[in-house]
């Protein structure tokens, strides 16, 4: 049953990865990285049970915390580039449409 759950998580990871590749705007990529992070937390938790040593959940806890920091960092530094370079956003939008 853990196998089925981990397979489901792996499939959703693959789809998120696909969106990170094609995602026309950078926000799509950030979104998929965020989702990927959540899925990684779940996968590590399930893997702990699958391999019979569930006492290693600390790694999953670290991920759930660090992932948030990563997203905040991406948003924070992305904002620096946005106001000055309006044309970048326009270009992204154009690509998207």
């Amino acid at each position: 049953m853990f196998t089925a759950a981990s397979a489901a998580i792996l499939i959703s990871m693959l789809l998120a990865l696909g969106r990170a590749f094609i995602g026309p705007t950078l926000y799509d990529r950030i979104l998929s990285v965020n989702m990927f992070g959540t899925k990684t937390v779940l996968l590590i938790a399930v893997l702990g049970f699958l391999m019979g040593r569930p006492d290693f959940l600390d790694i999953a806890i670290v991920y759930s915390l660090i992932n948030f920091i990563g997203i905040v960092a991406i948003l924070r530094f992305f904002e620096y580039t946005q106001p000055s370079k309006d044309n970048v956003t326009r270009a992204d939008e154009g690509e998207h449409e």
Binding site: L17, I30, F68, F77, K85
Partner: protein, 332 residues
């Protein structure tokens, strides 16, 4: 074929796809984000390969600090690369030849997971069988890291300290000269929810870092991981509430002293054991019972590593972030 091996194959496949994505992407921001995914995947791989301590380190370093540093550099250097200047064919030929030679070389490698491979026959059996009697810790990785190979780890700590000094000399010189721009409006002021949630999350992160630091003898964790997590909490504070606020909480000079203090703590533990008539970093003389001595020694050494790693990571981030603030006028 076991399920673990199947997951291993899938994860490695994902890794290759991600790496190809990084190679072809022109947008450096996208590359950095894919590099984040790459690091997440490699951490999962390390878990599958039973390397929980390594996965822990990769988890705290790869997704957090590494992404943050890359992004802060990108805000200073620009988002796009110039694809016209690549020498594709020559690079491809060189890579192809090297790769095929290496693939040819793998035919001599032992079968994956072989318990009788040459790697498994020396040292590792000794560590697995005797480390509990000699060092008294369930986590073999910690006892090897801090006790058997304590000298090596000392060297690594010094390398990290040196890297911190290097970044400071490269980028931190002008921070004392002109008065830094005081950003009137704290950054991310428009993200009220983010600020509240960060305020809620920072104390648990700090406590969790302390848990990782002192629980490293019994589970995955230790000074390196704890240091990075602790630094990540401080970095989160600096990002959400502004660099100046963070500087008020943690002074730059305090950080510099702390980063040296960790290395000194490590070295002085070695010196104490040296002066007591044993080898450098042989902790068994630190208490009457050699096992207790080992415990004390590892605790102190890991603390030294943790302090140095925290201080160096925070000072590296502060140096980069103050550059970013200066470049972009300090009002994001």
């Amino acid at each position: 074929m076991t399920i673990e091996f199947l997951i291993d194959i899938i994860i490695l496949g994902f890794l290759v796809i991600t790496a190809v994505g990084i190679a072809v992407s022109k947008d450096l921001f996208a590359s950095v984000m894919l590099a984040g995914i790459y690091s997440l995947l490699s951490a999962v791989f390390f878990v599958v390969m039973d390397a929980v301590d390594v996965a822990f380190t990769e988890a705290s370093v790869g997704a957090g600090i590494s992404t943050i540093l890359m992004l802060s550099t990108l805000t200073l250097t620009g988002q796009f690369e110039d694809p016209s200047r690549h020498n594709k064919t020559l690079g491809f030929v060189v890579v192809f030849i090297t790769g095929s030679l290496l693939i040819f070389g793998t035919t001599d490698m032992p079968i994956f997971g072989d318990a009788l491979a040459p790697v498994q026959l020396h040292l590792a059996p000794h560590f697995i069988e005797n480390s509990y009697a000699e060092v008294g810790m369930p986590n073999i990785v910690t006892s090897v890291l801090a006790s058997y190979r304590g000298y090596d780890t000392f060297g690594e700590t010094v390398v990290i300290f040196t890297a911190g000094i290097g970044v400071l000399t490269l980028l931190g010189f002008s921070s004392g000269g002109s008065t830094p721009l005081v950003s009137v409006v704290a950054p991310m002021h428009q993200h009220k929810i983010l600020r509240v949630v960060s305020k809620m999350l920072i104390p648990p992160i700090l406590i969790f870092a302390l848990y990782v630091q002192f629980h490293g003898d019994y589970g995955p964790g230790g000074g390196f991981q704890a240091g990075v997590i602790f630094a990540a909490a401080i970095i989160l504070y600096a990002m959400v509430f502004g660099l100046d606020t963070a500087r008020k909480v943690i002074n730059q000079s305090v950080i510099q002293i702390l980063s040296a203090l960790g290395v000194l703590l490590y070295g002085s533990v070695g010196l104490v054991s040296f002066l007591n008539g044993k080898n450098f970093l042989d902790y068994s003389v630190l208490a009457h019972d050699p096992l207790h001595g080992q415990h004390y020694g590892i605790l102190l050494v890991e603390l030294g590593v943790g302090i140095t790693v925290t201080a160096v990571m925070v000072s590296i981030f502060f140096t980069f972030a103050s550059r970013v603030d200066k470049e972009h006028g300090g009002n994001a």
